[in-house]
Symmetry: C2
Subunit: 194 residues, 2 copies
DNA sequence: TCGCTAAAGCAACGATGTTTGCTTTTCGGA
DNA sequence: TCCGAAAAGCAAACATCGTTGCTTTAGCGA
């Protein structure tokens, strides 16, 4: 088969340049607080690109926004490594909380929610979080600590954090740490023979 | 002061009729699966009302949708009363899961997320859930059961459920029950002297 | 280097959403 | 019953978005 996967058929110079310009333009507009009403023509003008090109490549502003969003939201920060699972999870939760409460992130999250119509399946964001959780929990388990499952961490730390941000509820360090305390409480069980 | 609170200045006949018609129209359109693209002119036509009236009263389709959403999302179902906290929470979680995964609800939730720009503070939805949780936990505590806190139930059952729906992840009974199991595990502690 | 073709650019059009100034209706108090 | 004013209706202008047919540019393989 010499049929490249579409979308990779001509990745060279100009296409790449247009994509970069468009991505940058979206980033700028979002950062400038044009929170809502980021439109295709706006992005195109800022990028110095013809609107038609954007329409043909991405189809709609939502698709574009959510593509950029995924890229922006999965830029990985260094993982904490404090020596204990409590420390790791609390620092991790704090970092995430601080990150996703930034105005630009909120715009992206909103865009993701708006665009997730008829797009089944998970988005890469959660995969990243899952890998991070796996990594920290794995290390802790190796140290002999009692740890919750990856699923529990995702459902009871990550999900509530994003829920709060998306619905405009308060999110701060205290809140994040509470979540971690809760999830750690889940993994403390009465030993069978005690 | 004879300055009524605005929005209540002339609640009589016609205004009320227009509001009712518009609310009904939004409900119909959303129910019919016009998932996206519910526009002001559409709503106005269906309601037999002039678009201008809608624009002047609500300003935008998002504001209108989220106003209707709050009304729709806080309609309370009867609370389960199975005799145990496990049973109550599991049934409750199932009911909520079934409710918010209906296509119309998703539209409303999306609208809430979209409209929650610059509207600080909680929306009435969470208040309802909080009261429901309080009620069930209170009954269980009276029976002498060990129960999690209201906050824990909200953060670790409600929040993940809504998170999943809003981001298009799977939600079913199993998932809901898992959450309940987890939150109950939080309240099980090793007795001090064991 | 040449040629094929994917992708970008251009321009014009059609459709819709939104705003605005003005008129008409009708609520609610005097 | 009458009057002032709030809210609804109407119509037309306005702004923008999104689409489409065609042309032009420029990767990339032969």
């Amino acid at each position: 088969m010499s049929t490249p996967n579409r979308r990779t058929r001509r990745p060279g110079g100009r296409s790449a340049r247009v994509q970069a310009a468009v991505y940058a333009a979206v980033g700028e507009l979002v950062s400038e607080g044009h929170r809502d009403s980021v439109t295709v023509p706006q992005v195109a003008e800022r990028a110095g690109v013809n609107p038609t090109s954007v329409y043909r490549r991405w189809g709609s502003i939502d698709a574009l926004l959510s593509e950029v969003a995924v890229a922006a939201l999965t830029g990985d920060e260094p993982l904490p490594d404090t020596g204990t699972i409590v420390g790791d999870l609390q620092e991790w939760a704090s970092i995430i909380a601080a990150d996703i409460t930034r105005p630009q992130r909120i715009v992206y999250l909103r865009a993701m929610v708006g665009a997730r119509v008829g797009i089944p399946g998970a988005c890469p964001c959660w995969d990243v979080r899952e890998q991070q959780a796996e990594s920290m929990l794995g290390r802790a388990a190796d140290r002999g600590e009692t740890v919750p499952t990856v699923r529990q961490v995702l459902e009871h730390v990550i999900a509530p954090l994003y829920h709060h941000v998306v619905f405009g509820l308060d999110v701060d360090d205290d809140y994040a740490h509470h979540l971690v305390d809760d999830v750690l409480a889940m993994s403390v069980r009465v030993p069978a023979g005690s």
